[in-house]
Symmetry: C2
Subunit: 223 residues, 2 copies
């Protein structure tokens, strides 16, 4: 029984890593599609998001089955409850990647990135991909130093997000309303993607260090 249980907990962890890998691929392709107006790549991201959603549902089912059948306590219980919360955040990260892909798709054959913001969005996209890859490593290795790196990268994304609004609201901005809408939404999706990653990283840290009840998205989204 004990052995079966630990197999289940290992299974929970490996499924989280699997979902996180798919999310990293999704944001990689979504940001490429967005930068290069690649509608095929955008469609791929949109289609693949269903798989992420399914895997998140299946992981939740597994977690609840473990709660019901094995009634874990202490750290094992925390692991299972954390998995439920992490899967919800990973699923939302997949949605953000999908939204970015949809922006590329809607504007096709025109470019989705408004003029004057190409460098900014390229950097934001690279940071998001980097964050997603580090998050996968964090989930796989539990190397908590990665959580700090992710948080620093998120600060950079927040700075770029602020830059987008500065540019759009400056007198030099010549974009039409459509470009302004795209810039606003795209910037928000890039920023939210990184926020969710920080939220996951915090959950992993709190699980490891024990001070886990204090972590919620509530805290993360507070200034």
């Amino acid at each position: 029984m004990r052995e079966v249980f630990h197999q289940s907990l290992d299974e929970v962890q490996s499924r989280l890593v699997e979902i996180s890998e798919l999310v990293a691929d999704a944001i990689d392709k979504a940001t490429q599609a967005f930068a290069g107006s690649d509608v095929t790549l955008a469609d791929e991201v949109i289609t693949n998001d269903r798989r992420i959603d399914e895997l998140a549902v299946e992981l939740d089912e597994l977690a609840i089955e473990i709660l019901a059948r094995q009634q874990p306590v202490a750290r094992d219980l925390r692991t299972v409850v954390t998995a439920l919360r992490v899967s919800a955040s990973l699923e939302r990260m997949g949605d953000m990647a999908e939204h970015i892909a949809q922006l590329a798709r809607y504007r096709f054959p025109e470019r989705a990135i408004p003029k004057g913001l190409k460098t900014t969005f390229t950097k934001m996209g690279e940071l998001d991909v980097d964050i997603a890859r580090k998050l996968t490593d964090l989930l796989r290795t539990q190397d908590l130093r990665l959580a700090d790196v992710i948080r620093n990268d998120d600060d950079l994304v927040d700075e770029l997000h602020a830059t987008v609004f500065e540019k759009v609201l400056s007198e030099n901005w010549k974009g039409e309303a459509g470009a302004t809408v795209d810039a606003t939404l795209a910037s928000r999706y890039h920023e939210r993607f990184a926020d969710h990653a920080v939220s996951v990283a915090k959950k992993v840290v709190y699980l490891a260090t024990g001070d886990w009840a204090a972590d919620t998205d509530a805290i993360v989204t507070q200034p």
Copy 2:
């Protein structure tokens, strides 16, 4: 022991209702602040959001304590896990109300609602408030018919959300970039607020009808 347990489950439910009431008050005040450029009301919403966040954390702690100490099974287990998920959605709804209040605050003393969109945003705001009140009733009474009403109202919010983009992207739109940004973000926050409510309503329905594993935000956010 049995009696203590049922007291705890009742406590979980009454705390969800309490948080939902605060969220309904928050969106009511936020939409008023947004429509009337009322910075005092906006500040109140922003300050009160901390309380919603705290209550959500406390509810999560209670739910996890119940899992650890009482090891519920079957429907009781589903109730506790659903509470964890619902509290996360309610907390996000509070965040959306806060974001709307922040838009009112940033633009003060100017109006946050861009010209030509007052009627649309007033309707969206009224629908969001209505949805939040109905959600509180649903959580209190478990009257599942309310879930259908909430879903219908959400469809109306989605239509208004589409209207905002139609107007902003039409040739008649005279708003400057700042107005376009505000309209885009405000519309998105109003729409997400209603989405989260539908997500909660679905969880309550699935809990009552038993087909609960199929529900996740993943499904809700799929087209």
